[in-house]
Subunit: 381 residues, 2 copies
């Protein structure tokens, strides 16, 4: 059976160059990077080199890179850390944020914050009128993701930041899905903080970063030995950080060719999907080149994912991080998609290592599976 | 030049068997463990196998293992998570806790908690009379480390837990330094939560765990996709968790032989240290077999660490995690050691891969270095 991985927004394979760069830091005695002896200094130097690579890849200064264990951690850190010392008690997020922004923001409500969820339209684009209206209340933080993990829709973050700044609020953007797929430049986005993650760009699991404007009066996320200038304590995961550095470099180097390749494959995919009668979500907005989120009426997304898996194709229903849940995607509901269609949504997220042949096979198998499901429904009726 | 690593309480080398177990999860496409397709299920199975290995190694049930990115994270999680829903507003910790317990506990003071630091005696043993006195105030959480990272002193945690329970408080123990060096059994310790870390037991960086009694009404540490039963969101670091599982198994398998070997080396080391006039801290208490913390009058610990490093020996001054600081060790100050002697403290932490020859060489080099430093002091006088 073929095994085709079409779930690159969930996680990617480790690049072999990245792995080669990591291995020396796994194979021999390493120091704790806080230690002052030669072993410790070697680890420290490797971390600082990776920090510079990461910074360079996203248009930031190395001193703006706060290393974390993941994108989830960086998002939790941003939401909690950027609000704790602010006088204003409203936070504003888009209605389509990843749960690791949404849930910490919701939790702040029990600490006296008011949470405003800014609307998106049917094409998954932020409603700027709604944002402006929300910002009439004094706001400490606005957090809007650069690209959505499910639909791939890309937001005008520099505009969000401009409005937030005018109203005295900080801006954070979750750029986890954007980084490596479209150009991401911290300075151009004009935000105060930005989250990125290693394992979405062919780097290792276990590394992420919050790119942080040093003027933000931030509370630390983990306390202890005082690593990351006291903002994020804990012994640094040297091999993962080294891998994240190399992966960041490669992400920038390969950006254009990978975007072209995945966009071609997606065009091929979506032509076939249209023939099969699919609704493609956020189709008419600026999207990540690799992402296609679609659904069929009267077909359960979960059922489709399992049926495709049996045929050797790995795709997602909604975001992987919420696929334990059977609720329809909150992103689609925010876009005003009917719950029945939303429940049928599945996501294909491509990578440059996928092929046109795989897409063709997928379309054939999808057609078979859909016919089988329709027959089952007809028999049950 | 020889390069001898005597800083195993800071971090250890990755065991080659552990690395071999990790490599398959780095070399090929892996799924996000939350994904429902075959790639995701393979990752999930690997995580659950590792969870069972970790649980078995510390006398816990797999369902009690909450995976984190590090010991620091698990300690922050315990201190914050175990107190948030408790009615009592005092927390009690020992005066010798690692900063990743001490600092979160201190931070809770700004959230209305009263912090009691329980004394230790000159041999680094917890003062139970002081603990009993502290517990007369209604207390939500008592956190005392099983073995101290600097002196290696081992505390009677089951007794701490007994007193805490009698007074309606939860008990947490930081067992990061104990695990792999002495037997650690969650059930026998009778605590509600216990922290362990992978990279201290020849496992990879990037993995730790809070072993947690499920009856504790706990607040989550990171919010998002709902991993780890909602207590710790974030895509699981599969390779690191797999490594932690194997390392935990090996830690138990090798415990007795490693303890015997390091204890022999330490006996040899300390005989030589006595000849050189060293004060060995907590010498007359039950200590980890591999740890020797000592000082010389009128010698700066930092200076000694740097001089020994130049001669090829990696040792620590106080804990690695606080070695950016030039303050004397808070552990030694809590023991009543004079600040001048405390400032001169250095730590040798051995491993079974160290040799008797290395210890001999170290003692020779230490003698030379001490003589040089004395001459410099004499010339400056």
């Amino acid at each position: 059976m073929t095994h085709v991985y079409f779930d690159h927004n969930a996680t990617t394979v480790l690049d072999s160059q990245v792995m080669q760069a990591m291995l020396p830091f796994m194979a021999a005695q390493q120091g704790n990077a806080t230690s002052r002896h030669a072993y410790g200094r070697t680890a420290r130097d490797a971390i600082e080199q990776a920090r510079a690579q990461i910074a360079s890849a996203v248009g930031a200064h190395p001193s703006q890179v706060v290393l974390t264990s993941s994108g989830t951690e960086a998002n939790n850190f941003a939401i909690n850390g950027m609000t704790a010392k602010q006088p204003n008690t409203q936070i504003a997020i888009s209605a389509i944020e990843h749960p690791c922004v949404m849930r910490p923001a919701e939790m702040l409500q029990s600490h006296g914050f008011k949470l405003a969820k800014v609307d998106v339209n049917a094409q998954c684009k932020l409603d700027f009128e709604n944002l402006e209206s929300v910002l009439r209340n004094p706001t400490s933080l606005v957090s809007v993701m650069l690209a959505n993990n499910e639909t791939g829709a890309i937001q005008e973050i520099a505009h969000v930041a401009e409005l937030a700044k005018k109203n005295g609020a900080y801006t954070h953007t979750d750029a986890v899905q954007a980084f490596g797929k479209i150009p991401v430049n911290f300075a151009d986005l004009n935000v105060n903080a930005m989250t990125i993650s290693s394992h979405k760009i062919h780097g290792p699991l276990g590394a992420g970063a919050l790119i942080l404007d040093k003027r933000v009066d931030m509370t630390p996320f983990m306390l202890g030995g005082g690593q990351e200038k006291g903002l994020r304590s804990g012994t640094e995961n040297v091999a993962a950080i080294v891998g994240f550095g190399i992966a960041s470099e490669l992400a920038v180097k390969n950006l254009t060719s990978h975007a072209q390749k995945t966009q071609q494959l997606r065009t091929q995919l979506e032509a076939g999907l249209h023939e099969l009668g699919a609704t493609i979500f956020a189709e008419n907005t600026k999207r990540l080149p690799n992402t296609s989120f679609f659904g069929f009426n009267n077909v359960e997304g979960e059922t489709l994912v399992m049926a495709l898996d049996k045929k050797g194709f790995a795709v997602a229903s909604g975001s992987a991080c919420s696929s334990d849940s059977t609720e329809p995607s909150h992103v689609l509901l925010a876009m005003g998609i009917a719950p029945d269609l939303a429940r049928g949504a599945i996501r294909v997220s491509l990578d440059a290592n996928n092929t046109s042949e795989q897409v063709n096979q997928f379309l054939l198998v999808l057609k078979q599976v859909l016919n089988q499901l329709k027959q089952m429904v007809a028999m049950a009726a």
